[in-house]
């Protein structure tokens, strides 16, 4: 098509999804509850609260932290967070010198088991286009001001490795237990577009 002239409008997306589901049903390809189970799994198992727990544990337990940085998937599995496939999870440690941030420029790959299904902003063309080219300016616009002396390392999820950021533990959380610490770790911090802050 050389231009948008005289094209019939598309059927609404909700109708198209319904149409495909019904066509597959009619062919007997949809076992009872199969779709419902997948949705339930997505809503219950793929949750940034998992990554928050991992982070809180790493803040409290230096040996766990070392295991996490050595093998992210195995250390997450210790807490019961297992990826569907045998995933290669690399955990990126933020320090005073380096801030890490994750993107998938070509689609929207994410470590579902610890970060959850990615949010709209992560999947947007805006984020995908800009963060590899102007991370400092973009993070600033998103509310994260990084001192000039902090290097930014952007990780493009172009392969099969999945990434999670291990944010820095904020001051003012001394003596907090794991649950309380996990409560302040956001999805945005696990991706690297925000710091963890004590309320």
């Amino acid at each position: 098509m050389s231009g948008p002239r005289k094209r019939d409008p598309d059927a609404p997306i909700a109708e198209r999804v319904r149409a495909l589901e019904e066509a597959l049903h009619a062919k007997g390809l949809v076992p009872e509850d199969f779709l419902e189970k997948r949705v339930e799994e997505a809503q219950e198992n793929f949750d940034p609260k998992n990554g928050a727990r991992v982070v809180a544990r790493a803040w409290l337990d230096p040996q766990y932290r070392a295991r996490l940085l050595a093998d992210g998937a195995a250390a997450s599995a210790e807490l019961g967070f297992r990826a569907a496939n045998s995933e290669y999870l690399v955990v990126l440690e933020n320090t005073d010198a380096v801030h890490n941030v994750i993107v998938c420029t070509q689609c929207s790959c994410t470590a579902w088991s610890v970060i959850g299904l990615p949010p709209d902003w992560y999947k947007s063309p805006e984020y995908r286009a800009r963060v590899v080219r102007e991370p400092r300016a973009l993070l600033r616009a998103m509310g994260l001001e990084l001192p000039d002396e902090v290097a930014i390392r952007v990780w493009d999820t172009s392969g099969e490795t999945r990434f999670m950021v291990l944010p820095q533990r904020p001051a003012g959380t001394e003596g907090w237990n794991e649950e309380r610490l996990a409560g302040i770790v956001t999805r945005e911090a696990l991706i690297g577009v925000a710091r963890v802050v004590a309320p």
Partner: protein, 210 residues
Amino acid sequence: MDGIHDLGGMSGFGAVEIEPNEPVFHERWEARAFALNMLGIRLIEAYNVHEYRHAVERMDPAHYLAASYYERWFTGVATLLVEKGVVTRAELEARAGGRFPLARPPADVKSVRVTPRAQPRFAAGDTVLVRDIHPAGHTRVPRYVRGRRGVVARVSRAFEVPDLAGHALSAHLEHTYHVEFEARELWTDAAESRETVVVDLWESYLEANR
């Protein structure tokens, strides 16, 4: 393919806005579309995840940018189920009561140059050059690193080469590498300072620095 999906570094886009308390799915159809892909890949095994990614890439560029994430997702699923003969487009249009946009057909990819080594060719610290290639089919080497030099930060595991798997060709494994590029090497005069980008690349995308 050098498609619209390969957005890294493109200018002209606006603000990134975070939705507070964003739900996992905004609409019922999004959840159903999500699950239908699980059905296509895992249950009936009509296609693999590389083919799925490539189907989304093959969408009309205007449709790709206009669509929300799960509309792109769904269009990839529907395209493959039609291409694999599970359903027909006519059937879908009749049931949907209107036009049913699908992605464009894939290029006719018959083979891809891969590296046969079982041992990784590069080691951490090696400087590598990304091959300046323009594959007609699926690939995962973004345009913004092609022809650029970087340093291997980590030798990752071996995974299926997407350029083959995306066309349901042989399941050939190759080592992948986390390659770190200086912003200046990628964006020259437009680079911010003290920044690097790490890209996860298959061995056949790389050559030794000359």
